[in-house]
């Protein structure tokens, strides 16, 4: 697994003390999310995160990376997905950037509406929003920042 400890936050905060960091470029291939989630899951355990939170963070990271690879980069082998993670005892931050055209998350239809309830796809963004404390997209819609705070 590719580890890069050279990423530093511009303004160090108490959350950064002793934090684990990962910065990695993923190929636009199905299954590439594992390169991130294996280390992330291990570090969530090391930093004392409860199993329910681990599930939430794992789900959100998986959904976001798959979205970036499949919907953002459209599985284009010439494009990559850039992922930065930070895990500390109180905060988890995952930032995912793809090389696609971006999208407007406000335009994603409500998957719980009666007419969409039984549509097999379109639940990823909703799950990310529900299971993380904070989620923000950049204006272009090709980068998502997600945070989970303990408690």
């Amino acid at each position: 697994m590719a580890h890069d400890s050279s990423v530093h936050a511009a303004n160090p905060s108490p959350d950064d003390v002793g934090a684990w960091r990962l910065a990695v470029h993923l190929p636009s291939e199905r299954g590439a999310s594992r390169i991130v989630t294996e280390g992330l899951l291990e570090q969530l355990g090391v930093h004392g995160w409860e199993s329910a939170d681990v599930f939430s963070i794992h789900l959100a990271a998986e959904e976001a990376i798959v979205n970036a690879i499949v919907h953002g980069n459209k599985l284009d082998p010439h494009k990559q997905v850039y992922v930065e993670c930070l895990v500390s005892p109180e905060l988890v931050r995952v930032e995912i950037t793809d090389e696609g055209a971006g999208f407007d998350p406000a335009q994603v239809p409500d998957c719980t509406s009666d007419e969409r309830l039984e549509v097999p796809s379109g639940r990823g963004v909703m799950l990310m929003r529900t299971f993380m404390t904070r989620i923000e997209y950049n204006e272009k819609g090709n980068r998502v920042l997600m945070e989970k705070r303990k408690g």
């Binding site: 309830l117 796809s121 639940r123």
Partner: protein, 117 residues
């Protein structure tokens, strides 16, 4: 009967009971296979009463959810019945926030689900 890799299929009376061989249903290639094997129970084997027992399953992604939705629709269009049981708390939360707990017939335990057929 075809050989399954992702699922384990048995019969209890008239009900086909499906268990899952993966603790985490998230690898996309496996999810495609997971879907193919589940759909074959309806499309090829013409099974009418199917129980999915999620005992041991710790994680599933929205892509796997999509396969469950498609299976549910297939079973209903074949006038069959699909039930689910032994779903751990975190996965049930996913069903709840997506309101799929209103679409799927979910029971706590296998025995309870079997008696509801």
């Amino acid at each position: 009967m075809p050989t399954h890799q992702r699922i384990d299929v048995s019969k209890v009376g008239d009900v086909t009971v499906v268990r899952f061989n993966d603790r985490k249903i998230l690898d996309e290639a496996k999810i495609i296979q997971f879907g193919t094997e589940l759909f074959s129970l309806v499309d090829l084997d013409n099974r009418k009463s199917i129980l999915l027992n999620f005992d041991g399953v710790e994680f599933l992604s929205s892509a796997a959810l999509g396969k469950l939705i498609t299976l549910d629709r297939k079973v209903k269009s074949h006038k069959g019945r699909l039930k689910m049981s032994n779903i751990r708390r975190e996965i049930y939360d996913v069903f709840q926030v997506t309101k799929l707990n209103k679409v799927f017939d979910i029971h706590d335990a296998e025995a309870e689900a079997l008696s509801a057929f």
